[in-house]
Structure formats: C-alpha cells, structure tokens
Symmetry: C2
C-alpha cells in the first residue's frame, strides 16, 4: 500500500495511527504542503479534493481520511475496528461524522488560522465555538464510557483524536474536559498508538 501524507496534517495523522495500530506495511509519499504539492496537477489526479491523506492499494485509489480509515480497517483489521452490523457501523459512523464537521471545520480551521495564518471558513471565534459543540458532546459521552463507540477502541479513536489533541493550538483549552483528557491517555496506551 502506498499512502500520501503531509507532516503537518491532522487528517494524515489519523491514518498513520491506524496503520501503526494494525501494523500494516506501507510506503509513504510525503507531500510538501509549503510548496502546495497537494494542489499540483499530478496530485489532483490522485485526490481531486487536493487534501491528504489518500491511499493506493492493489491499483485502487481512496481519498479522504475517514474513507482511508474505513478501507484499512476492513481490509487489514478485524471486526473490532469497524464492525459491519447495522448498529455497530452506524455507531462508529456518528463519530466519523463529528470528526469531519465540528472537529475539522471548527477546531482545525481555527487552528489553521492561528498556526498557518490561512483562513478557510469563519473567524477564530466561530471555529472555536463550532469545535466546542463537539468537545461538549464527546466529554458528556466519555464521562460514562471508556471509548467513543461500542465500548472498545474503534476507528472512531484515530478519527477524533488528532483535532482534539491540537485544540490548544486553536486556543481552546482542554482543562475543562477531564474525561477527554483521560480518554486521550487511554488512546496513547493502546499498543501501536503513535505520537504526531
């Protein structure tokens, strides 16, 4: 498998975590974000959205972080990481959706504004507020659950972790989310979990 990543990307980090958890052999193509390699004509043929991650496996291309997680979990993992029964799949899907909307478009775009000076959607305050909606939902859930879905680690963990971990870079402090902080520690203790 060949994966297309960038060092600064939280979305790429999601896939890196899962590949490491599942010990999937892979070749990495590192894209140069600073030189906009992810918007080059050559890369847009791989991922028309111009984002990372994307992956190529057995001649098939997959773009989008959640789609990459789904593919790797189904192809190289067991039912543990992504079950296919209706309820199990939907429960994991809830958190993948939250990671794509409030966590990415809220927290991550607020962070991008501060760290890279690039504005995608909205002001810093709008991004923080939108992101806090997700943090509140996650915190409430984790007060009574060890993991996001199904009572065990699933791909919901690598999907949600990266842009929660970097919330302080969006000037959203995690101190008021103690259950999230404990969950992050549990994630880091999973065999094979890797740091950014």
């Amino acid at each position: 498998m060949k994966v297309y990543l960038a060092k600064v990307s939280g979305n790429a980090y999601k896939l890196r975590i899962l590949l490491s958890l599942l010990k999937v052999p892979h070749e990495v193509v590192w894209l140069d974000f600073a030189n906009k390699e992810h918007k080059s004509a050559a890369y847009l043929k791989i991922n028309p959205r111009g984002e990372v991650p994307a992956l190529e496996d057995h001649g098939h291309m997959i773009w989008d972080s959640a789609a990459c997680l789904v593919y790797v979990a189904r192809q190289y993992g067991s039912e543990q990481w992504l079950p296919t029964d209706p309820l199990g799949l939907a429960e994991v899907m809830q958190w993948l959706a939250l990671s794509a909307t409030e966590l990415q478009c809220g927290l991550q775009y607020a962070r991008r504004l501060l760290v890279l000076g690039r504005r995608t959607l909205g002001t810093l305050e709008e991004g923080q507020n939108f992101g806090r909606l997700a943090l509140d939902v996650v915190e409430t859930h984790l007060k009574t659950h060890e993991w996001l879905a199904l009572g065990r680690p699933t791909i919901a963990e690598p999907a949600c972790f990266p842009y929660i971990e970097t919330a302080p870079e969006s000037q959203v402090a995690l101190e008021s989310y103690p259950a999230i902080i404990q969950w992050m520690q549990r994630c880091r203790q999973l065999p094979g979990w890797i740091d950014r």
Copy 2:
C-alpha cells in the same frame, strides 16, 4: 422505527429519501426549528448535537445524517445501497465525507446565512468557495460516471443530493455543472425518490 426530522432541514431530507427508496415503515416526529425544539433539553437527550435527523429503532438511538443513512441501508437495504467489502464501503464513504464537509459546512452554511440570516461559520463568499470545491470534484467525477460510487445508486446519492440541489439558494448557480444537473435528473427518476 421513529425518526426525528425538521421540514427545512436538508440533512433530514437525506434520510427521508432513503426511507422512501427502501419503503421502510416509520413514524415521524417533526421538530419545530423556529421554536428551537432541536435545542431543547428533551431533544438533546436524543441527539446531544442538537441537530436532525436522529432515529430510534428497537430501543437504539442513532444521530447524524450519515450514521442514519448507514444504519437504514444496512438494516433495511441490500448490499446495493451500502456494501461492506473494504473497497466498496470506502468508495461510498468518500462521498459521505464530502457531504459532511464541503457540502454542509460550505454550501449549506452559505444558504443558512441567506435563507435564515444565521451565521455558523464564515462569510457567504467563504461558504460558496468551499462548496464549489465539492461541486468541482462531483462534476468531474460525473462527467465519466453515472453515479457517485460503484457505478450504481448507493447512499452517496441521498447524502450528496440535498445540499447540491439547494446550491442556488446559496447563490451558487448549477448551470456550469451540466453533469451534476443530469445526475440530479437520474436521481429523481429512481423508484421511490421523493422531492424536498
């Protein structure tokens, strides 16, 4: 099955389309958006995110439009609407991700600004530009494909259709996307497809 919907919501419309396509018997609870019933304490117990749709089936609750589509497709549909093989599931997932990010946070939030006067994230122009990224990806794909994923209708269609159809309400004209217009016509001809 009981589903929680609101008449103005494109996310609710996604689920209504699939329920109609698959002829799934269900009871509807219509929420009063104007009176913020979706932010009431009672509803936040059903969906902590305070959005529609949500569904309840056999005592289980599912929130988020994509998660609801996944649940209904797996529970009441065949492999046609959402396959579980790694590549098929991931290919559908790509479009669910696009529908949650560029289409919702871009086109829909631009529309919300114009139609409801409520700003969630970003200016009108930012929402339009973010949404156009998705329209360009969809248009390019549909120039050489009849359907979004797998060469046949899947839940990618109800996931992406609603906020593409309402693009003109975001002041994004669809005239420059002829393949999308033809795809929308094919969607409307699917047996059981319903209008907004």
